[in-house]
């Protein structure tokens, strides 16, 4: 008897729960949809605005003065490549080695300091990093340079590289480390031959995500690499970059520069987006292969 009444009240509660479930599901679904809208909107809008001006010349020609038709952003593409190259050269070795230290000695004072430091560093506004690079490199050299811009980007990339590598190192089974050590392999050899290959995946993903992030940074380049309307590969001279070119074109009062700003935005966005997609696809493929 008591059992059947409980059952009845249960069915009412069940109906209510189903209703709540449907309500909450629609709410979360709506929120999720709203979250994707800006991305799609940005991609579609920039593509439609920028595609008109993108041509082969746009990638290979240097900028033209106001009013002169044609011209491209070859200098900015090359500049961004150089800046990112400098950033990688600095941040990858330091980041990977730091991650090894932190993964191996997480409880030492230095290990704790590094972890706290990387958290803080990833939260530092990028313009502050730019000012730092300005103070450390630009002021002593007495001129803007690719080197200072690359340094600023390296500092911004560093936390991403450290974190991605460290997370991957932590995922390497301790069994493998022990297997290597038990064979009489020294620790350094174990790190190099067992830990690094196992973590390489994460390092590459981390680097690509880091590159994708810094390739679009404008603020730290404003007073470091500065910008350059000509082709330059010299590290001690100002150099152009995609985001800075975009910035200059966008705030200019000229119509044709505005069009170029849209086109530059499209190129930059495609670059960053494809880096992100490649990084994630790479991870998925590697994981699938390791799983099988």
């Amino acid at each position: 008897m008591s059992r059947s009444t409980r059952w009845r009240s249960g069915s009412v509660r069940y109906a209510w729960r189903k209703l709540t479930n449907a309500g909450m599901l629609s709410l979360t679904g709506l929120a999720a949809f709203l979250a994707v809208v800006p991305l799609v909107w940005i991609v579609v809008y920039i593509a439609s605005q920028g595609a008109r001006f993108v041509s082969a010349d746009f990638f290979t020609k240097l900028p033209t003065p106001v009013g002169v038709p044609g011209g491209g952003i070859a200098n900015a593409l090359g500049g961004t490549a150089i800046l990112v190259g400098i950033a990688c050269t600095i941040s990858i070795p330091i980041g990977v080695l730091t991650a090894f230290y932190v993964a191996d000695k997480p409880d030492t004072p230095l290990g704790l300091a590094v972890r706290f430091g990387t958290d803080v560093l990833s939260g530092v506004p990028s313009i502050v990093v730019g000012i730092f690079a300005y103070t450390v490199v630009v002021l002593p050299m007495k001129r803007f340079s690719a080197l200072s811009g690359g340094l600023a980007l390296a500092i911004i990339m560093l936390p991403t590289v450290i974190r991605a590598t460290e997370e991957m190192l932590k995922l390497v089974p301790n069994d493998l480390r022990e297997a290597s050590l038990a064979l009489g392999a020294p620790e350094w050899k174990t790190s190099l031959a067992v830990m690094l290959p196992a973590a390489l995946n994460g390092v590459i993903t981390g680097v690509m995500l880091g590159v994708a992030r810094v390739a679009g940074e404008t603020a730290p380049l404003l007073f470091t690499s500065f910008g350059n309307p000509f082709w330059s590969t010299r590290l001690d001279q100002p150099i152009a970059s995609l985001p800075h070119t975009l910035f200059v074109y966008a705030i200019s009062p000229y119509k044709d520069w505005h069009a170029k700003a849209w086109a530059t935005a499209l190129v930059l966005m495609a670059l960053v987006l494809s880096l992100n997609i490649i990084a994630r696809a790479w991870t998925m493929i590697r994981q699938a292969r390791l799983g099988g």
């Binding site: 409880d107 089974p173 069994d175 297997a179 290597s180 064979l183 031959a193 290959p197």
Partner: protein, 281 residues
């Protein structure tokens, strides 16, 4: 050193074959553990433990979970050094030399005392590269390396199963094959002692039998120490058995040590008898 080795080899060849020995005094001591205490920070995991491990014999450590038998095993090749806060007191002599001595290179100890783990742990590399990993550390290359890999796989009774696919991933092998691969990998650095930490606990009965057969064969050349939960296994494969148990403070102590036959048929200690007959543990 070399002279001493030759001397030992000359002597041991005159010894009865494994399994037939009767008295520990007949055999040569490979590892002598004396007054061993192992601590993890303030916790004492092993207390006042002394045991002699004889050359070219299989010695089994048995006992209930947590009695410190794995700790004891990992003390023999200094793998416990890797545990933060671990500390060892007492002596562990390998061929008379203290492996915890101040001038001893731990890498050298681990080369001489190999280890096979509970779960098969091949590297995510090819079968060949797994076995070649150790020898490559010591600069073995080319033809010599190929011969060494083949020889190790043969001795691990795995060659016939993998000879056509040496460059396939080791992870594609079955669990039992992976464990034999790990044994081959350990053999490839030509160790003198092989430690096995519950090597069959993750394997099915058929794979287990294969590993046990293999252990008997290997005992003709190597000193083998095995930790096992499985008393039948200890009875089947080992020549000597050490029974460990923890006291009230959860500190592991050696209760009884003797030939496997004696431990399993006429245990001297009541606790050994209780454990072996399955009254606890």
């Amino acid at each position: 050193m070399m002279g001493q080795l030759v001397h030992l080899v000359g002597l041991t060849s005159a010894l009865p074959s494994p399994g037939q020995s009767s008295d520990p005094a007949d055999d040569l001591v490979k590892i002598r553990v004396a007054d061993l205490n192992v601590y993890y920070r303030s916790f004492r995991a092993l207390a006042d433990l002394s045991v002699e491990i004889l050359e070219r014999r299989i010695t089994a450590f048995i006992g209930p979970s947590g009695c410190g038998k794995s700790t004891l095993l990992r003390t023999l090749n200094r793998m416990n050094d890797l545990v933060p806060g671990s500390r060892v007191e007492g002596r562990v002599n390998l061929d008379g030399g203290d492996i915890y001595g101040p001038s001893v290179d731990v890498v050298d100890v681990r080369r001489r005392v190999g280890m096979v783990f509970q779960r098969p742990n091949p590297f995510p590399k090819s079968i060949f590269d797994n076995v070649a990993y150790g020898p490559r550390l010591y600069g073995v290359r080319g033809r010599e390396l190929e011969d060494l890999v083949e020889g190790s796989l043969r001795r691990a009774a795995l060659w016939d199963e993998v000879k056509g696919k040496l460059h396939r991933s080791a992870l594609a092998l079955s669990g039992g094959q992976q464990q034999r691969l790990c044994i081959a990998r350990a053999l490839a650095v030509e160790p003198e002692v092989i430690l096995m930490d519950e090597p069959c606990s993750a394997l099915d009965p058929i794979a287990t039998l294969k590993i046990e057969d293999l252990m008997r064969q290997l005992a003709q050349e190597y000193t083998i120490v095995i930790v096992t939960h499985n008393m039948q296994q200890a009875a089947r494969v080992s020549d000597y058995t050490a029974f460990l148990m923890m006291d009230e403070e959860r500190t592991g102590r050696l209760i009884e040590y003797g030939t496997t036959q004696q431990i399993f048929t006429t245990p001297r200690d009541r606790r050994t008898e209780d454990y072996i007959t399955g009254r606890f543990g």
